[in-house]
């Protein structure tokens, strides 16, 4: 005789392994909110070094970063007796949270440091300062916003 088909076919052909379900749910629960792709980055191509004794920082950019951000600078013209008040471009000016006015100076190649300025008034695109900047200083006229982001970090909103 050969084994015929069985009369009482047991029912449990879909019994789930409970260890599996637990593992699955733990995994799915942990996983769905996890981002494997592209985690947020603020900067990889800039270094921020604190300047001792002040709350300023030196922002040092890679050469590629300078070119990508399109940073342009302008030299403050040397003062002469008849120059009158110091005038800089409005593009270079920015304010911090408490209303103090700053510009970014460029003391060394690809290095940028904030410098406080006192604004007398703004006319058109010229800013008249109350106190002069050291002659020959290069100030950043394009890209100050990005340098600010690099120095302070950009928070998640």
């Amino acid at each position: 005789m050969h084994p015929a088909r069985h009369p009482s076919r047991p029912p449990a052909h879909r019994a789930m392994g409970w260890p599996l379900a637990v593992l699955l749910l733990c995994g799915v629960g942990a996983g769905c909110s996890h981002s494997g792709e592209g985690d947020e980055v603020t900067q990889k191509t800039a270094q921020v070094v604190a300047v001792k004794g002040t709350d300023l920082h030196r922002v040092i950019l890679d050469p590629q970063a300078v070119q990508r951000l399109g940073i342009t600078t302008q030299r403050v013209p040397p003062r002469t007796a008849s120059s009158g008040a110091e005038v800089i471009s409005f593009d270079a000016l920015f304010y911090d949270d408490n209303g103090r006015a700053w510009v970014y100076t460029n003391p060394a190649p690809r290095t940028y440091v904030r410098h406080k300025v006192l604004v007398d008034q703004v006319t058109g695109d010229r800013v008249v300062l109350r106190a002069a900047l050291p002659p020959g200083t290069a100030i950043v006229t394009t890209g100050a916003a990005e340098l600010r982001g690099a120095e302070y970090g950009v928070g998640a909103e």
């Binding site: 879909r14 599996l20 749910l25 733990c26 980055v41 909103e157």
Partner: protein
Amino acid sequence: MVRSLISASLRFRALVLTAALALLVIGGLQLRSADLDTYPQFTPPLVQIQTEALGLSGQEVEQLITVPLEDQLNGVAWLDTIRSKSIPGLSSIDMVFERGTNVLRARQLVQERMSQLRLPGLGATPTMLQPTSSTSRLLMIGLVSKTVSLTDLSVLARWKIRPRLMGVPGVANVSIWGQRDRRLQVEVDPRRLRRAGVTVDQVMRSTGNALWVSPLSYIQASTPGTGGFLDTPTQRFAVQHILPITTANGLSSVTIEGTGNRHVRLSDVTNVVEDHQPLIGDAVVNNKPSLLLVLEKFPDANTLAVTKAVDAVLDNMKPGLSGITVSPNLYRPATYVSSSMHNLMRSALIGSVLLLLLLTAFYSWRVALVGYVAIGLSLLVAALVLTMRGASINAMTVAGLAMAVGAVVDDAVSDLDTIARRLRRHRSGGETTPAAAVVLQATLTMRRSMLFAALIGVLAVLPLLSLSGVTGSFARPLVVSYALAVAASMLVALILLPALALTLLPSARTGRRPLPRRLQRWYDRGVAPYLFRPLWAFAAVGVLALSGLAVTPFLHGAALPALQDRSLLVHWQAAPGTSLPEMDRITEAAGRQLRTVPGVATVGAHVGRALTSDQVSDVDSAELWVTLAGAANYDRTLNAVRRVADSYPGIRHQVLTYPRDRVQAAANGTQDDLVVRVYGDDLSTLQAKANEVRRLLGSVRGVERPTVENTVTAPAMEVEVRLAAAARYGIKPGDVRRAAATLLSGTLVGNLYEQQKIFDVVVWGTPAVRHSETGVENLLIDTPSGGVVPLHDVATVHIRPNPTVIRHDATSRSLDVTASVHGRSQASVAADVRSRVRALPMPLEYHAEVLGDAAAEQTTHRRTALFALAAGVGALLLLQSAFASWRRAALLLVSLPLSLVGGVLAIAVVGANGSLGGWLALLAVLSLAVRQGVALFAAYAHLENQPGRQSPADIVRRGTRARVAPIVLSSLGVAALFVPFAVSGDIAGLEILHPMAIAVLGGLVTSTVVTALVLPGLYLRLAGLGGQTGPHSTEQPDRPLTTVR
């Protein structure tokens, strides 16, 4: 009852077959128009209310718009949470309803509340946004032109293109980035006015009264009057007035009221220009400033169909858009969806061909056809039921169907094997019973357990249904499609399979294909003798268990895989407070750089936000949408794009795909172990209290790294009137505000109507007057005595930090303190913190709450684990009642993890990205392994109950040999269906199925080995055979095996 069902289907088999054929055809057609999407709906029912108030600061938006609105809307039925964001110029309120709420009813209730609300006269109307799907963006269209100006393009987009697109069924919303509304501006310089002896008020009145209608309630134009009509004795004439002012020129010649005989005209003292409104956002497409239209879809819209309809509409409009380049390819999820479908169908087709060949090789082409139809119909019916319920076919439902493949294939194969074998025996034995009776009996013996099986199937997947939140939204379609497929295969096996088999099989020629017979012979000679050595089974168990345990540290939790979507989204966030021109510049530069990356086809960017858009952000935030060319290498291009984004310091960025972005946004807020939310009004007090809470948390055992949420601030100019100084001039604070408002923000004084379009006319300050702090300080305010006073004499202008986004939760400002929990259970830490926080002194109207999210998550996990445990116990009980033996039930249950070891090894191999597919594969293999194991045990039980003397070894040997062919065949059948997916690689649409296939193949190897080679040995040793067989229970020496077919 089952018997009568099967016999009825056998009797009316012609009808059944016709119905099945009809179902196949209709189902196939129906599925072609099914709603295909990437992910299921994973957001809870949501109603969004946005109120635009251009020119208001964030705090004023909050005070004047958000607070009254929230007060009015709070407490609506079924409301779960009410959250809001107030940013400069926009108030956005999100009302999240409990899961399962009917969105339309919720919207109705909200609308009723809103209609009772009156906002102060800011001209702001709260708008309820259209309901959109979870991944709402359907299409992004760029409009660029060299010949048409952006303002004219905006007019075209707003008045012609947008209405046509909104008329396409399925399109919920069209928002236009970079929209520049043409308007006439009367630009005043207070100094110039002063010199001419004219006040700003005079200019406003004159401009307003020059037009037909004005919103200024205090001038005559607020009541325009009608033209009227006159009746002559014979005719009636309507009188219509034609406004002669259509351009700036026309407006400049208007005389100013109150200037008497001097007849000063507007152009004498002001600049009348055509310009556009201050922008809240902008768009850059392919390096040029342009317009970007973003289309969003309704929750149940069919992506492919609606995209096609929109394409058709754009085609129709093309003749009227000469000189304008329309780029509908900036973001097209339809491309991903259709290529996913294409890949899926292709692999499924190849798999089904392989399955057909396999079945033909094992039996005959007729059997193959029957099996193929049964399997296909089961899956088709499941998919059909899903679409009829209104669900979409998405990655999760497809994964669920794939999980059920093991059960579906085994259903068909085991039934067919039994039926075919009995029919052959019936034929060769020359019995007199009709073939129908044979088929009926064969099906009955297989299906008698149907009810039990369905119960266990439901029981088994119940634990996953108890997951909540975003995870739950993903798990539910998975479970539903799996259960439907299993149920469908059950019905098909009961109704269709016998009918088909009876029609096709009896007339087949006798003789069995050599393959199954060869298999059995190999089993007899090659394997069986070794099987019953005692060491073999336990050694195998040991090896499997150890390898499984060894791999456990390398396993990853199940996470959604990265999509092979050829559209990338780059979040682009600059320092808070960055201006629009600067943002335009840097975004354009980044876009230009990205276009030079080989493999990138198009780059479209939008900055800030647009009216009724899905972005609630200021202009310091942008998004770049990068589309990759079809032939480009995905990973290489993605990495290149990432490198370009990384090369811009000072910008916070993230590169991901849009569906992933939406899932991230939906899941946000449930990632921290412990969250204490401090509610209050004043931000500095909130900050102080939050710091106190942080210090308190630091002292609680088990809490690590408590951090106060960062409040992002940007500098804002605050103008505060000095009351004493103002009183000296007779000026009130409101006067200063209104005067400054006109000069800095502009005042709408009237409208121009032109060919069904409406344009604004505003009085504004000249650009020179409103471009710096100095300009603000020097604004001239008219005094009641007729003079002017500069603003800085009556008010002070400070620059102070303002939060860029003011968030409310449950109508109150709040600040979160988050922490992680280690070393103690989250629930006990939460209880501890709750009691301590309650004891913390708080000023009036402030309070702190421990958010229930984390504890709730744990409860959910615990609940799901309990469900799973209950399911396991239920399965054990059912197995026990089936075998009438605890030992055998336990043996089978314990052997199941061993069967899965191959799959577990595969999970470790596929890595984190394929982890979800891997875990789902284990479920698929498990269902198959249990069925095969149970069938095997049942074969033994049947042999035991037969009269005659048999040794236990004999029973096991014969039983196994009888089952070895179906076991191997169903395993091979499942493998055949999955092989094309394993080979295809990680391509669009197969991100889950590809690792799943690899894990299934690995699991099938071990499960077949365990079922066919290890279980028999274990059964012999452990299942308590011997002494329990038939009436003559004596030990027999090994006999030569009888021939079996």
